[in-house]
Protein backbone atom coordinates (compact mmCIF):
# COMPACT_ATOMS: atom_id res chain seq x y z
CA UNK A 1 0.00 0.00 0.00
CA UNK A 2 2.34 2.75 1.20
CA UNK A 3 5.80 2.77 -0.30
CA UNK A 4 7.50 5.19 2.06
CA UNK A 5 8.77 3.94 5.38
CA UNK A 6 5.71 3.82 7.62
CA UNK A 7 5.61 6.45 10.37
CA UNK A 8 5.90 5.18 13.92
CA UNK A 9 2.73 3.77 15.41
CA UNK A 10 1.06 6.31 17.73
CA UNK A 11 0.99 5.36 21.38
CA UNK A 12 -2.26 4.21 23.01
CA UNK A 13 -2.25 5.65 26.52
CA UNK A 14 -4.65 5.48 29.44
CA UNK A 15 -4.56 9.28 29.63
CA UNK A 16 -5.99 9.63 26.13
CA UNK A 17 -8.59 6.95 26.92
CA UNK A 18 -9.72 9.00 29.95
CA UNK A 19 -9.67 12.19 27.89
CA UNK A 20 -12.01 10.47 25.43
CA UNK A 21 -14.37 9.39 28.20
CA UNK A 22 -14.58 12.90 29.69
CA UNK A 23 -15.10 14.53 26.31
CA UNK A 24 -18.33 12.58 25.85
CA UNK A 25 -19.86 14.02 29.02
CA UNK A 26 -22.12 16.65 27.37
CA UNK A 27 -23.79 13.91 25.35
CA UNK A 28 -24.46 11.34 28.03
CA UNK A 29 -27.91 12.62 29.12
CA UNK A 30 -29.16 12.42 25.54
CA UNK A 31 -27.67 8.97 25.03
CA UNK A 32 -29.19 7.74 28.29
CA UNK A 33 -32.61 9.06 27.25
CA UNK A 34 -32.29 7.25 23.92
CA UNK A 35 -31.14 4.03 25.65
CA UNK A 36 -34.05 4.21 28.08
CA UNK A 37 -36.47 4.70 25.21
CA UNK A 38 -35.11 1.52 23.64
CA UNK A 39 -35.63 -0.41 26.90
CA UNK A 40 -39.19 0.87 27.04
CA UNK A 41 -39.89 -0.28 23.49
CA UNK A 42 -38.58 -3.82 24.10
CA UNK A 43 -40.60 -4.07 27.33
CA UNK A 44 -43.77 -3.13 25.46
CA UNK A 45 -42.98 -5.67 22.75
CA UNK A 46 -42.76 -8.44 25.36
CA UNK A 47 -39.03 -9.07 25.34
CA UNK A 48 -37.36 -10.20 28.56
CA UNK A 49 -34.77 -7.93 30.18
CA UNK A 50 -32.11 -10.51 29.30
CA UNK A 51 -33.13 -10.42 25.62
CA UNK A 52 -33.02 -6.62 25.72
CA UNK A 53 -29.52 -6.54 27.19
CA UNK A 54 -28.32 -9.24 24.80
CA UNK A 55 -29.48 -7.20 21.83
CA UNK A 56 -28.30 -3.83 23.03
CA UNK A 57 -24.95 -5.21 24.18
CA UNK A 58 -24.14 -7.15 21.03
CA UNK A 59 -25.65 -5.05 18.24
CA UNK A 60 -24.85 -1.62 19.77
CA UNK A 61 -26.43 0.51 17.04
CA UNK A 62 -29.17 2.77 18.36
CA UNK A 63 -30.94 3.82 15.21
CA UNK A 64 -30.78 0.32 13.65
CA UNK A 65 -32.10 -1.30 16.85
CA UNK A 66 -35.03 1.12 17.05
CA UNK A 67 -36.02 0.61 13.44
CA UNK A 68 -35.68 -3.17 13.65
CA UNK A 69 -37.79 -3.19 16.84
CA UNK A 70 -40.47 -1.26 14.99
CA UNK A 71 -40.50 -3.94 12.30
CA UNK A 72 -39.82 -7.00 14.46
CA UNK A 73 -41.18 -10.06 12.62
CA UNK A 74 -43.96 -12.08 14.26
CA UNK A 75 -42.21 -15.31 13.29
CA UNK A 76 -38.44 -15.55 12.98
CA UNK A 77 -38.19 -17.43 9.71
CA UNK A 78 -34.92 -17.46 7.77
CA UNK A 79 -36.39 -14.88 5.39
CA UNK A 80 -37.48 -12.67 8.30
CA UNK A 81 -33.99 -12.82 9.81
CA UNK A 82 -32.43 -11.96 6.46
CA UNK A 83 -34.82 -9.02 6.16
CA UNK A 84 -33.85 -7.83 9.63
CA UNK A 85 -30.18 -7.99 8.65
CA UNK A 86 -30.93 -6.07 5.44
CA UNK A 87 -32.67 -3.24 7.31
CA UNK A 88 -29.74 -3.13 9.73
CA UNK A 89 -27.25 -2.92 6.86
CA UNK A 90 -29.18 -0.11 5.20
CA UNK A 91 -29.42 1.97 8.36
CA UNK A 92 -25.71 1.52 9.04
CA UNK A 93 -24.39 1.97 5.51
CA UNK A 94 -23.07 5.43 6.39
CA UNK A 95 -20.52 3.81 8.71
CA UNK A 96 -18.62 2.57 5.66
CA UNK A 97 -17.82 6.24 4.95
CA UNK A 98 -17.17 7.05 8.59
CA UNK A 99 -14.75 4.14 8.98
CA UNK A 100 -12.88 5.14 5.84
CA UNK A 101 -12.02 8.56 7.32
CA UNK A 102 -10.14 6.81 10.14
CA UNK A 103 -7.69 5.06 7.83
CA UNK A 104 -4.99 7.76 7.72
CA UNK A 105 -4.99 7.96 11.50
CA UNK A 106 -5.15 4.31 12.50
CA UNK A 107 -3.34 2.42 9.77
CA UNK A 108 0.01 2.56 11.52
CA UNK A 109 -1.49 0.93 14.61
CA UNK A 110 -1.66 -2.87 14.96
CA UNK A 111 -4.83 -4.46 13.57
CA UNK A 112 -5.31 -6.25 16.88
CA UNK A 113 -5.98 -2.87 18.47
CA UNK A 114 -7.74 -1.16 15.56
CA UNK A 115 -10.40 -3.76 14.74
CA UNK A 116 -11.71 -4.17 18.30
CA UNK A 117 -11.72 -0.35 18.63
CA UNK A 118 -13.92 -0.11 15.53
CA UNK A 119 -16.61 -2.08 17.37
CA UNK A 120 -17.09 1.04 19.53
CA UNK A 121 -17.36 3.44 16.59
CA UNK A 122 -20.39 5.75 16.79
CA UNK A 123 -21.13 9.08 15.14
CA UNK A 124 -20.60 11.26 18.24
CA UNK A 125 -17.31 9.70 19.28
CA UNK A 126 -16.08 9.76 15.68
CA UNK A 127 -16.80 13.49 15.40
CA UNK A 128 -15.10 14.20 18.72
CA UNK A 129 -12.10 12.14 17.64
CA UNK A 130 -11.85 14.00 14.33
CA UNK A 131 -11.77 17.28 16.25
CA UNK A 132 -9.27 15.87 18.75
CA UNK A 133 -7.06 15.03 15.79
CA UNK A 134 -7.40 18.40 14.09
CA UNK A 135 -6.46 19.97 17.44
CA UNK A 136 -3.20 18.04 17.25
CA UNK A 137 -4.10 14.88 19.20
CA UNK A 138 -2.77 11.62 17.81
CA UNK A 139 -3.48 8.95 20.43
CA UNK A 140 -6.10 6.45 19.16
CA UNK A 141 -7.01 5.52 22.74
CA UNK A 142 -9.12 8.71 22.65
CA UNK A 143 -11.36 7.08 20.05
CA UNK A 144 -11.57 3.91 22.12
CA UNK A 145 -12.33 5.71 25.40
CA UNK A 146 -15.02 7.93 23.90
CA UNK A 147 -16.58 4.85 22.26
CA UNK A 148 -16.49 2.65 25.36
CA UNK A 149 -18.32 5.22 27.49
CA UNK A 150 -21.06 5.45 24.84
CA UNK A 151 -21.36 1.65 24.94
CA UNK A 152 -21.57 1.51 28.74
CA UNK A 153 -24.22 4.24 28.97
CA UNK A 154 -26.20 2.82 26.06
CA UNK A 155 -26.38 -0.69 27.56
CA UNK A 156 -26.99 0.35 31.18
CA UNK A 157 -29.67 2.92 30.39
CA UNK A 158 -31.86 0.23 28.80
CA UNK A 159 -32.45 -1.25 32.28
CA UNK A 160 -34.29 1.69 33.92
CA UNK A 161 -36.08 2.25 30.63
CA UNK A 162 -37.26 -1.36 30.65
CA UNK A 163 -38.57 -1.13 34.22
CA UNK A 164 -40.04 2.34 34.11
CA UNK A 165 -41.75 1.84 30.79
CA UNK A 166 -44.15 4.64 29.97
CA UNK A 167 -43.28 6.45 33.23
CA UNK A 168 -40.19 7.87 31.52
CA UNK A 169 -42.23 10.77 30.21
CA UNK A 170 -41.91 12.71 27.01
CA UNK A 171 -38.26 13.38 26.05
CA UNK A 172 -39.51 16.30 23.92
CA UNK A 173 -40.64 18.17 27.03
CA UNK A 174 -37.06 18.33 28.31
CA UNK A 175 -35.48 18.80 24.91
CA UNK A 176 -33.62 15.51 25.35
CA UNK A 177 -34.46 14.44 21.79
CA UNK A 178 -32.31 17.35 20.58
CA UNK A 179 -29.16 16.61 22.62
CA UNK A 180 -27.46 14.77 19.78
CA UNK A 181 -28.54 17.27 17.07
CA UNK A 182 -27.36 20.16 19.29
CA UNK A 183 -24.04 18.40 19.73
CA UNK A 184 -23.82 17.90 15.95
CA UNK A 185 -24.42 21.62 15.54
CA UNK A 186 -21.60 22.42 17.97
CA UNK A 187 -19.29 20.08 16.03
CA UNK A 188 -20.27 21.79 12.79
CA UNK A 189 -19.15 25.13 14.28
CA UNK A 190 -15.74 23.68 15.11
CA UNK A 191 -15.47 22.24 11.60
CA UNK A 192 -15.94 25.68 10.00
CA UNK A 193 -13.00 26.45 7.71
CA UNK A 194 -14.47 29.31 5.67
CA UNK A 195 -17.14 29.61 3.03
CA UNK A 196 -15.72 27.40 0.29
CA UNK A 197 -15.63 24.13 2.27
CA UNK A 198 -19.12 24.95 3.55
CA UNK A 199 -20.44 24.65 -0.01
CA UNK A 200 -20.19 20.88 0.49
CA UNK A 201 -22.40 21.18 3.59
CA UNK A 202 -25.06 23.08 1.66
CA UNK A 203 -25.00 20.43 -1.06
CA UNK A 204 -25.25 17.68 1.58
CA UNK A 205 -28.18 19.36 3.27
CA UNK A 206 -29.98 19.97 -0.02
CA UNK A 207 -29.45 16.42 -1.27
CA UNK A 208 -30.49 15.01 2.11
CA UNK A 209 -33.75 16.98 2.05
CA UNK A 210 -34.44 15.86 -1.52
CA UNK A 211 -33.63 12.20 -0.75
CA UNK A 212 -35.72 12.32 2.41
CA UNK A 213 -38.65 13.64 0.39
CA UNK A 214 -38.15 11.15 -2.47
CA UNK A 215 -37.21 7.93 -0.67
CA UNK A 216 -37.93 8.61 3.00
CA UNK A 217 -36.34 6.61 5.84
CA UNK A 218 -32.55 6.60 6.10
CA UNK A 219 -31.44 6.95 2.49
CA UNK A 220 -31.06 10.67 3.01
CA UNK A 221 -28.04 10.17 5.27
CA UNK A 222 -26.15 8.15 2.70
CA UNK A 223 -27.17 10.31 -0.27
CA UNK A 224 -26.34 13.56 1.55
CA UNK A 225 -23.02 12.31 2.89
CA UNK A 226 -21.88 10.98 -0.49
CA UNK A 227 -22.88 14.17 -2.30
CA UNK A 228 -21.11 16.35 0.25
CA UNK A 229 -18.00 14.17 0.21
CA UNK A 230 -17.71 14.31 -3.56
CA UNK A 231 -18.27 18.06 -3.70
CA UNK A 232 -15.81 18.51 -0.84
CA UNK A 233 -13.16 16.70 -2.85
CA UNK A 234 -13.46 19.17 -5.74
CA UNK A 235 -14.46 22.42 -4.11
CA UNK A 236 -10.88 23.66 -3.56
CA UNK A 237 -10.13 23.63 -7.29
Amino acid sequence: MTHQTPPASPRWTLDAFRHGVWSMLPLLPGLAAFGMAFGTVTARKGFSLLDTLLMTGSVFAGMAQMIVMDNWPARLTVAAIAGTAAITALVNLRFLLIGATLRPWLETSPSLKVYPTLFFLTEPNWLLSMRYRSDGGNDPAFLLGSGVIVYVVWVLSAVPGYWLGAAVGDPHAFGLDLVVPAFFMAMLVTLWRGKRPAIAWLVSGGVAIAADWLFGSFWYLIAGALAGGIVGGFVDD
Partner: protein, 103 residues
Protein backbone atom coordinates in the same frame (compact mmCIF):
# COMPACT_ATOMS: atom_id res chain seq x y z
CA UNK B 1 -42.86 -15.12 20.39
CA UNK B 2 -39.31 -14.75 21.69
CA UNK B 3 -39.45 -17.39 24.40
CA UNK B 4 -40.92 -19.85 21.96
CA UNK B 5 -38.05 -19.38 19.53
CA UNK B 6 -34.76 -18.76 21.37
CA UNK B 7 -32.75 -20.15 18.47
CA UNK B 8 -34.37 -17.73 16.02
CA UNK B 9 -33.76 -14.84 18.40
CA UNK B 10 -30.07 -15.69 18.74
CA UNK B 11 -29.80 -16.09 14.96
CA UNK B 12 -31.40 -12.67 14.39
CA UNK B 13 -29.07 -11.08 16.96
CA UNK B 14 -26.03 -12.71 15.39
CA UNK B 15 -27.08 -11.52 11.91
CA UNK B 16 -27.57 -7.96 13.18
CA UNK B 17 -24.34 -7.94 15.18
CA UNK B 18 -22.25 -9.17 12.27
CA UNK B 19 -23.91 -6.71 9.87
CA UNK B 20 -23.31 -3.75 12.18
CA UNK B 21 -19.70 -4.71 12.81
CA UNK B 22 -19.04 -5.13 9.08
CA UNK B 23 -20.37 -1.63 8.49
CA UNK B 24 -18.10 -0.24 11.21
CA UNK B 25 -14.93 -2.08 10.13
CA UNK B 26 -15.67 -2.52 6.42
CA UNK B 27 -15.04 1.06 5.28
CA UNK B 28 -11.76 1.20 7.17
CA UNK B 29 -10.66 -2.12 5.66
CA UNK B 30 -11.83 -1.32 2.13
CA UNK B 31 -10.18 2.10 1.85
CA UNK B 32 -6.92 0.43 2.85
CA UNK B 33 -6.98 -1.37 -0.53
CA UNK B 34 -6.71 2.01 -2.28
CA UNK B 35 -3.96 4.59 -2.24
CA UNK B 36 -5.36 7.67 -0.54
CA UNK B 37 -4.36 10.51 -2.88
CA UNK B 38 -4.95 14.21 -2.17
CA UNK B 39 -8.37 14.16 -3.87
CA UNK B 40 -9.64 11.17 -1.89
CA UNK B 41 -8.16 12.67 1.26
CA UNK B 42 -10.13 15.89 0.72
CA UNK B 43 -13.31 13.88 0.17
CA UNK B 44 -12.75 12.02 3.43
CA UNK B 45 -12.00 15.30 5.21
CA UNK B 46 -15.30 16.73 3.95
CA UNK B 47 -17.33 13.80 5.31
CA UNK B 48 -17.80 14.88 8.95
CA UNK B 49 -19.47 18.14 7.90
CA UNK B 50 -21.37 16.38 5.12
CA UNK B 51 -22.83 13.77 7.46
CA UNK B 52 -23.82 16.38 10.04
CA UNK B 53 -25.49 18.55 7.39
CA UNK B 54 -27.34 15.50 6.03
CA UNK B 55 -28.58 14.59 9.49
CA UNK B 56 -29.68 18.10 10.45
CA UNK B 57 -31.26 19.48 7.26
CA UNK B 58 -34.33 17.16 7.15
CA UNK B 59 -34.76 17.55 10.92
CA UNK B 60 -34.90 21.33 10.55
CA UNK B 61 -37.44 20.96 7.78
CA UNK B 62 -39.72 18.56 9.69
CA UNK B 63 -39.33 19.84 13.24
CA UNK B 64 -39.64 23.45 12.18
CA UNK B 65 -39.41 26.19 14.80
CA UNK B 66 -38.45 24.22 17.88
CA UNK B 67 -35.44 22.47 16.33
CA UNK B 68 -34.42 25.62 14.48
CA UNK B 69 -34.38 27.71 17.66
CA UNK B 70 -32.58 25.00 19.64
CA UNK B 71 -29.89 24.41 17.02
CA UNK B 72 -29.47 28.14 16.49
CA UNK B 73 -28.91 28.56 20.24
CA UNK B 74 -26.41 25.67 20.25
CA UNK B 75 -24.49 27.15 17.31
CA UNK B 76 -24.42 30.68 18.76
CA UNK B 77 -23.25 29.39 22.15
CA UNK B 78 -20.54 27.35 20.48
CA UNK B 79 -19.31 30.34 18.46
CA UNK B 80 -19.10 32.51 21.59
CA UNK B 81 -17.96 30.07 24.27
CA UNK B 82 -16.29 27.26 22.28
CA UNK B 83 -17.60 24.76 24.80
CA UNK B 84 -19.49 21.57 23.87
CA UNK B 85 -21.26 21.29 27.18
CA UNK B 86 -22.56 24.87 27.13
CA UNK B 87 -23.68 24.48 23.51
CA UNK B 88 -25.66 21.30 24.19
CA UNK B 89 -27.13 22.80 27.36
CA UNK B 90 -28.25 25.94 25.52
CA UNK B 91 -29.81 23.85 22.75
CA UNK B 92 -31.68 21.62 25.18
CA UNK B 93 -32.86 24.55 27.33
CA UNK B 94 -34.22 26.40 24.31
CA UNK B 95 -35.88 23.20 23.05
CA UNK B 96 -37.57 22.65 26.43
CA UNK B 97 -38.71 26.29 26.57
CA UNK B 98 -40.05 26.11 23.02
CA UNK B 99 -41.94 22.92 23.92
CA UNK B 100 -43.43 24.60 26.97
CA UNK B 101 -44.57 27.49 24.77
CA UNK B 102 -46.23 25.02 22.43
CA UNK B 103 -43.86 25.32 19.48
Amino acid sequence: MIDSDPLGFIAALAAMTVTVYLSRAGGYWLIGRFRIGPRLRRMLDALPGAIIASALAPLLLHDGGRAGLALGAAAATMVILRNDFAAVLAGVAVAAAAFALGL
